[in-house]
């Protein structure tokens, strides 16, 4: 016990010394951001549980939180915000499933955001059914040739590294013939096109792979074991989603407050039906917020709370209803506005964007299956036998 305590004190001292030293040598607000991240990595403060020289100090993982808090307080930028897919989803995958050589190759550039990452999982033919993907990777010497189409790729146009899922054995069951690669996005065989959404914005890309090359050394995990690797990525997706633009707004708080203020200023608040509609949204938003608070309290106490999928389901539907209510409060004024008014189109944009909330990050129907099966323990639907070869499954042409 006593020695544990001293070890603990010692670790804390080491950590705080390293942080202080980093801040002294590289004042966060004055150092270029990539240089700062590089210095942070080299000081062992990127992932403190990794060995010295690999971004860490070989200390307990929980110290990372203290490090991040201190650096943030000193004005340092967040690596995950600079390279959300790479740091938020890619690094947990790399560090868990990569070889030492791969970690050496990819960790530092991702952390410093000198290499931005993107994710090449979804395909037009397999949206909810991610594991049904069709992009093929075929052995070619000491690497693979990849052909197929990916979609909903955030940052695809900026990224150097793509986390790619490709089918390597079409005759295996669908989850068991997929391999995970890190592909060089800068090669000519990879074409990235912006994907315009219903709002007119292009937050995402389509990616066309035509005989693109990936060396076998960039394969993460075993051949045909990519679904297992991708689980780590997907488990970290929610964390990252909250950082990406256009996600579901925090419930309660600003959005509803603005709606109430708007309704008061236009007089809609004096209309009992519109007012009730607004208050319904207020109540829904607050109740979801309470459930999130409760979940946090329960987690802190080590008890199970409401499931994340359930909350995502509730929030996505809430936001669609909220935006619709906002449009109703405005009436005609929300559907036609002076082009000179820079915010005139905001309600229309919000309404349109919200329609995607119940699709992105798992459609509501898929989430209902997840919650129904995992939380309520209801049986899965009958479907093709689990050992059906992917090539024998009915699918989109």
């Amino acid at each position: 016990m006593v020695s544990d305590y001293y070890t603990y004190m010692n670790q804390e001292e080491v950590v705080l010394d390293a942080v202080a030293s980093l801040i002294r040598t590289h004042p966060p607000t004055e150092t270029p951001v990539e240089a700062f991240f590089g210095a942070q990595f080299d000081a062992g403060l990127a992932r403190v549980d990794l060995p010295v020289g690999r971004g860490g100090l070989g200390l307990d993982a929980h110290w990372q939180r203290l490090i991040d808090d201190r650096l943030r307080a000193a004005g340092a930028k967040s690596p995950v915000l600079r390279n959300p897919v790479g740091v938020g989803m890619g690094l947990p995958t790399l560090l868990r499933h990569g070889t030492p050589e791969q970690i050496e190759r990819y960790h530092r550039p991702a952390f410093t955001s000198t290499e931005l990452w993107c994710q090449l999982f979804s395909e037009p033919g397999s949206g909810s059914d991610l594991a049904g993907l069709s992009t093929r990777a075929v052995r070619d010497g000491d690497g693979w040739r990849v052909t197929g189409q990916k979609v909903w790729t955030s940052l695809g146009h900026l990224a150097q590294i793509g986390m790619l899922l490709a089918r390597t054995d079409p005759d295996a069951p669908k989850h068991r013939g997929i391999t995970f690669f890190l592909i060089d996005m800068t090669q000519a065989a990879v074409e990235v096109r912006p994907l315009r959404q219903l709002t007119g914005d292009a937050e995402f890309n389509e990616v066309f792979l035509t005989d693109a090359w990936v060396p076998d050394s960039a394969r993460i995990g075993a051949v045909d074991d990519g679904w297992n690797v991708a689980r780590t990525t997907l488990a970290n997706e929610r964390v990252t989603l909250s950082g990406a633009g256009g996600g579901i707004p925090r419930v309660g708080g600003r959005a509803v407050d603005e709606l109430i203020a708007g309704a008061r200023s236009t007089g809609a608040w004096e209309d009992p039906l519109l007012r009730d509609d607004v208050v319904r949204r207020y109540v829904e938003g607050e109740v979801i917020r309470f459930a999130n608070l409760r979940a946090r309290r329960l987690r802190a106490a080590g008890q199970p709370g409401p499931e994340g999928s359930m909350m995502k389901l509730a929030q996505a539907l809430y936001n669609r209803r909220l935006q619709r209510t906002a449009m109703r409060v405005l009436g005609d004024a929300g559907t036609a506005w002076d082009p000179a008014d820079p915010r005139g189109g905001d309600p229309a944009h919000g309404l349109l964007r919200a329609q995607a909330n119940t699709i992105e990050g798992g459609t509501s129907n898929v989430l209902r299956n997840v919650v129904g099966e995992r939380v309520l323990g209801l049986p899965r639907e009958p479907g093709p036998a689990p050992d059906t070869p992917w090539s024998a499954l009915p699918r989109n042409g």
Partner: protein
């Protein structure tokens, strides 16, 4: 087409309009003119075809299904009913012939003055449907209603719109010469509004039908998890509920159009019922059409969002469903207090 048009006549009209629309004419005004649709619902005395609201509703429904643009809706659903109610003889023949398009201002802040025998209007009209395109703009002010010719409008600002196929404009008038259409604008506008509601309900049915058809077709074609998605109850049951709502919307719109022809005394009630139901049904089916499509449904290239935009415009254009229900309540039993 006489008002005693048979079911067969109406089916032929529907087929003709649908075929024409399907041919993909980009200039909707020219298309409607070529088919003689501008005069379809106008009396023969004005050079129209003498068709009734039921025939005109067929055109609005088919145009809605195809999400057509142009000034046809403003001309036939807004302006023509006003001119008819006002007993106009000047503009209607030219509208019937498809030579002139027109619109009606719903939101005006305009004053009229008489100057050397000519009426002159000054002020501003907001969110005028087809306001930048219509040849004639009908402007209410006080108890009067005036017609202004497009050339006499001093300034037109095309607005940004949620639904680009329903262009709207702000119009500024600066002593614009105007023709007095009626001094009884209140009654004329109230009556014309009922006909506009019937036309909009028909259009909503067409838009809703297109959304439903699109969603059903996709649900039959799209595979996920080794199954056509329409075989999943989550999708199948949703589509059944939408189909039911649309079926009821069709009945409501048709009943209102029928009343417009056969029993105008019931039109205030039936047009409000049709609007209250069709607006909500259309918004619902347009939203869920996007959802059934999943990812592809939230892309710009896919048409689902264009129907969704139209649905949202239509929900508020002639009053919200709640406002129509308020009208219904008033017709069924006036409230004692003044509670809104």
């Amino acid at each position: 087409m006489s008002s005693a048009a048979t079911d067969a006549d109406r089916a032929a009209l529907r087929a003709a309009v649908r075929d024409f629309v399907a041919a993909g004419e980009p200039d909707w005004n020219r298309a409607a003119k070529e088919l003689g649709l501008f005069g379809l619902g106008l009396p023969e005395s004005t050079g129209g075809a003498g068709g009734g609201p039921l025939e005109l509703a067929i055109v609005h429904e088919e145009f809605g299904r195809a999400l057509t643009g142009g000034s046809f809706f403003a001309t036939t659903a807004l302006a023509a009913p006003v001119l008819l109610a006002a007993g106009d003889t000047e503009f209607l023949p030219r509208i019937a012939a498809g030579e002139v398009t027109a619109t009606l201002v719903l939101d005006a802040a305009v004053t009229a003055e008489r100057d050397a025998g000519t009426w002159r209007l000054t002020g501003r009209c907001d969110r005028v449907l087809s306001g930048a395109d219509a040849d004639v703009v009908l402007v209410p002010t006080g108890g009067q209603l005036f017609a202004v010719v497009g050339d006499d409008i001093s300034n037109v600002v095309a607005l940004s719109t949620l639904d680009p196929s329903r262009p709207q404009a702000r119009i500024e008038l600066d002593r614009a010469p105007a023709r007095l259409v009626t001094t009884d604008a209140g009654a004329v506008l109230a009556s014309a509004r009922l006909h506009a509601c019937v036309a909009l309900a028909a259009e909503q049915v067409g838009v809703a039908t297109a959304c439903l058809d699109m969603a059903v077709a996709y649900a039959k074609a799209r595979y996920q998890f080794g199954r056509v998605i329409g075989s999943f109850q989550a999708v199948k049951h949703l589509l059944v509920d939408l189909a039911t709502e649309v079926e009821l919307a069709r009945s409501a719109a048709e009943e209102a159009a029928r009343a417009a022809t056969e029993d105008p005394g019931r039109l205030p009630l039936l047009s409000a019922i049709a609007q209250a139901w069709c607006s909500e049904a259309l918004v619902h089916v347009a939203e869920e059409n996007i959802q059934v499509h999943g990812g592809i449904g939230v892309t710009w290239e896919h048409p689902a969002h264009r129907y969704f935009r139209r649905a949202t415009w239509a929900e508020s254009f002639l009053g919200s469903p709640a406002e129509h229900r308020r009208t219904i309540a008033q017709l069924l039993a006036p409230q004692a207090s003044n509670s809104t």
